[in-house]
């Protein structure tokens, strides 16, 4: 493409001018975002991107598909790292894509000045297609970056939300917080069973105070956990059943009568202690007794 050659040459020739104008525009737009991004950083990103864009045009990418073609690979790499880092820094998708779109104004100003009207009409189409493609690519990678963050957080939540605590020698507690789905039940079950082996506990209290809804599926998951613990030789007590949950369980006809249930963790703990042969007694307060006499 002869045209692409000339447009690439033209841009290369005026690279400094375009860059200066573009950075000025960006800094105007991003003035609110100054706290998130350093000026030097923006300049560096602009310079790298413009350089890569012109190199892409020079290597014959004018007619190629920007989201797949080889000449645009360096530009794409640049944009993915940029949009990912901006996604992490808390930029909106619009702000991130504007990075590419804002190049149009200074670039077209130069092209218009240097080319005849007819040439300009033709070239502007090529440039618009490329820049739009790159802008959309940026938005897409931004989205991907956000999705990665979400899935990582989900994973972290999964790991965080299932602690098994030892209340007393031989008594474990598993405070469940949040909804129980199959994936979580698996994690809960594994960590509980491992803790039973590690501590040699014979009683585990599953506290469901933090479980918002108990439907048939959640109840089934709970019963599975209880059955698995029983197979290992440990008994389970379910505690923290709120009045609404007791109502739901009965209305749904869920059969959990095989498992001892208690309203509060304290009640369950008292039962657990008596099962392992321990009692809690009040210490004799000598002074109080004397006063009473």
């Amino acid at each position: 493409m002869a045209n692409a050659r000339t447009i690439a040459d033209l841009l290369r020739h005026h690279e400094g001018e375009i860059l200066g104008e573009w950075i000025r525009l960006q800094q105007q737009d991003l003035s609110i975002r100054n706290n998130l991004l350093k000026a030097g950083e923006v300049e560096q990103q602009c310079r790298d991107f413009l350089g890569a864009l012109i190199a892409g045009l020079e290597s014959g990418g004018a007619t190629a598909d920007v989201s797949t073609a080889t000449p645009w690979a360096p530009v794409r790499d640049l944009l993915s790292s940029l949009s990912r880092s901006r996604a992490r820094q808390g930029f909106t998708p619009t702000e991130t894509a504007t990075f590419v779109f804002s190049l149009k104004r200074p670039m077209f100003a130069i092209v218009r000045r240097e080319l005849s009207a007819e040439e300009f009409a033709e070239e502007s189409w090529t440039l618009t297609t490329i820049l739009d493609g790159l802008g959309l690519y940026t938005a897409e990678t931004y989205q991907k970056g956000r999705e990665e963050i979400i899935s990582r957080q989900q994973q972290e939540l999964l790991e965080l939300s299932t602690p098994v605590v030892e209340l007393w020698e031989g008594v474990l507690a598993l405070p469940l917080i949040g909804t129980l789905d199959s994936a979580r039940t698996q994690v809960v079950m594994e960590s509980l069973l491992q803790a039973i082996v590690d501590t040699g506990s014979s009683i585990a209290i599953i506290d469901i105070t933090g479980v918002p809804v108990v439907d048939t599926l959640v109840a089934q998951h709970l019963l599975k956990t209880v059955a698995a613990a029983r197979l290992m030789g440990a008994e389970c007590i379910i505690s923290g059943i709120r009045p609404q949950i007791a109502q739901t369980i009965v209305h749904l006809g869920v059969e959990i009568s095989d498992v001892p249930t208690k309203a509060t963790l304290a009640d369950a703990f008292a039962i657990a202690l008596s099962r392992v042969g321990l009692t809690v007694t009040k210490r004799k307060a000598a002074t109080v007794v004397q006063v009473a006499e």
Binding site: E190, L193, I196, G200, A228, R230, L231, M232, G233
Partner: protein
């Protein structure tokens, strides 16, 4: 064919499964065990499966059946040392081994058997007193 040894400890029988059981070994074990319960008039059977990493539905059912047979022969069965992964597999297979008692390790299992045996004896003594 490999045979799983059955050891007699007082009133109880101890079976420690340390090899991966195939179906024939399992059936032979069932035969041997029922025979030994009758021969020694055992009051309890302790099956240690701590070395088993994999338990399929057949072995799971075999354990449940063995417990049922032992109960008919007046002996309680305690399965001890089940691995967490095995417990999860059995539950997922829908085999919660109802009627089989379990304990964390051999020591706890023996305690449990002894407790059951004393309970049964004292019940029998009470019944005698009433008569």
């Amino acid at each position: 064919m490999e045979r799983i040894p059955i050891l007699k400890m007082g009133k109880f029988l101890l079976v420690s499964i340390q090899i991966d059981m195939d179906d024939r070994t399992a059936m032979t074990l069932q035969d041997d065990l029922t025979g030994q319960i009758v021969k020694h008039r055992a009051k309890g059977v302790l099956i240690d499966i701590s070395s088993l990493d994999v338990v399929d539905s057949f072995i799971g059912r075999m354990l449940a059946n063995t417990a049922a047979m032992a109960r008919i022969l007046d002996a309680e069965t305690v399965v001890v040392g089940m691995q967490p992964s095995v417990a999860i597999t059995l539950v997922e297979l829908g085999l919660s081994l109802k009627g089989v008692r379990s304990a964390l390790n051999v020591e706890r299992g023996m305690e449990l058997l002894q407790r059951i045996a004393t309970d049964i004896e004292s019940e029998a003594a009470d019944a005698d007193d009433e008569n």
